[in-house]
Symmetry: C2
């Protein structure tokens, strides 16, 4: 579960809205670096709408450095910093990289994260927005990160119903196909062989095939090679 | 581009936050049914943070019925209404069904959409949330719908680079495969034929194949049926 880290947040209302949306998407750990209006903050409590526990459990830090000291991976949400030599990932891409010790840094409302804070991060997390009007409200930016993380947690349940094939079933099917093609001299040009192989593997692994579908494909290969 | 329809919104701040996040994700058409505090609303303008044009262009209606009269598809965002006989889709699933005349209804902050308003919709749009704390702030719910729509718009650019196959290429490849299978009596059991056919079509159409990949698959079929 990612840890949300607000750096120098200005408005209590936004901190409260952040806590609420964290609760909506089953996140619980909030860290706050030097909140402008001190702590605790009544306006934050008023906006939390049921997520007061997240606020009262929030840890307050004097610096970003201290707030991230125990973490493995830190993402910086920013639309600047593109000139920094850091990987840039979308929110959707980032959530699949989260470990149990991952933090996401969000800067103050007016200015966003400073270059110094961004420099402390492992990667830039960028939410794709309208380039002509890209400045998201702080709580909205947090909402989208939390939402993406929660969707990823939801997925396994839906996938289980479809009985997804295990990787080994898919790879055995691909081996079956490649052996049949090899026998028929499909890979005539040696230089092309590896690329063709990758193409084939890509076609069948990109898609999340079910066990039933892998069986169907094996049936097709067996039928055609008769 | 979907139309955001707020039914009886209570707080001006939320209406302003909705306008801002619509702008962030390149949406522009806002409709409001009977706003509690009248219209225009100063608090809405204060929260729009640059999206004032969306507010001033917003159309005001006296009833939900009038607000949706010219639309083809209407989604109702609600966590209730599950007992209604309506399809329920997630935000991520819904956005791929949007036409140019699609509206998304959002109910008032306290109570959500009424059953009467939900009954007017084509389907329920449900945002998966923590079941123990599922009540999203109005502007956050709008944000996630707008975000999902915008992510879908971003996709074609990336896909174009990959030169996606046209549907007719994919269908011709499937016909090629099915003819080869037919010749080899793959569809032995007549009752199973249609289901097998659907399985095959599903495997190759779910995936967005590139032209290159369709060529590879045709090469494979031709090679195996030799």
């Amino acid at each position: 579960m990612p840890i949300i880290i607000l750096v120098n947040p200005q408005m209590g209302e936004n901190i409260g809205a952040v806590a609420r949306v964290m609760g909506n998407f089953a996140l619980s750990e909030l860290r706050i670096v030097f909140p402008r209006d001190g702590w605790p903050n009544e306006k934050a409590v008023a906006m939390a709408a049921g997520a007061e526990a997240i606020l009262s459990d929030a840890k307050i830090y004097a610096s970003t450095r201290e707030a991230i000291a125990d973490l493995e991976i830190v993402f910086a949400t920013t639309i600047r910093g593109r000139d920094m030599v850091k990987p840039v990932v979308t929110a959707r891409e980032a959530v699949s990289q989260f470990t149990s010790k991952t933090g996401i840094l969000f800067g103050p409302e007016r200015s966003g994260l400073s270059n110094d804070d961004t420099a402390l991060s492992s990667a830039i997390l960028s939410i794709p927005t309208n380039p002509a009007f890209s400045s998201l409200n702080l709580a909205q930016a947090v909402a989208i990160c939390c939402y993406e993380w929660f969707q990823l947690q939801e997925k396994p349940a839906a996938d289980k119903e479809r009985q997804l094939a295990e990787k080994q079933e898919v790879l055995a099917m691909i081996t079956h196909l490649e052996t049949a093609l090899e026998t028929r001299e499909f890979f005539k040009v040696p230089e092309m062989k590896e690329r063709m192989r990758r193409n084939i593997e890509n076609i069948f692994t990109r898609n999340q095939l079910t066990s039933q579908e892998v069986q169907t494909l094996r049936g097709i290969i067996a039928c055609l090679e008769k």
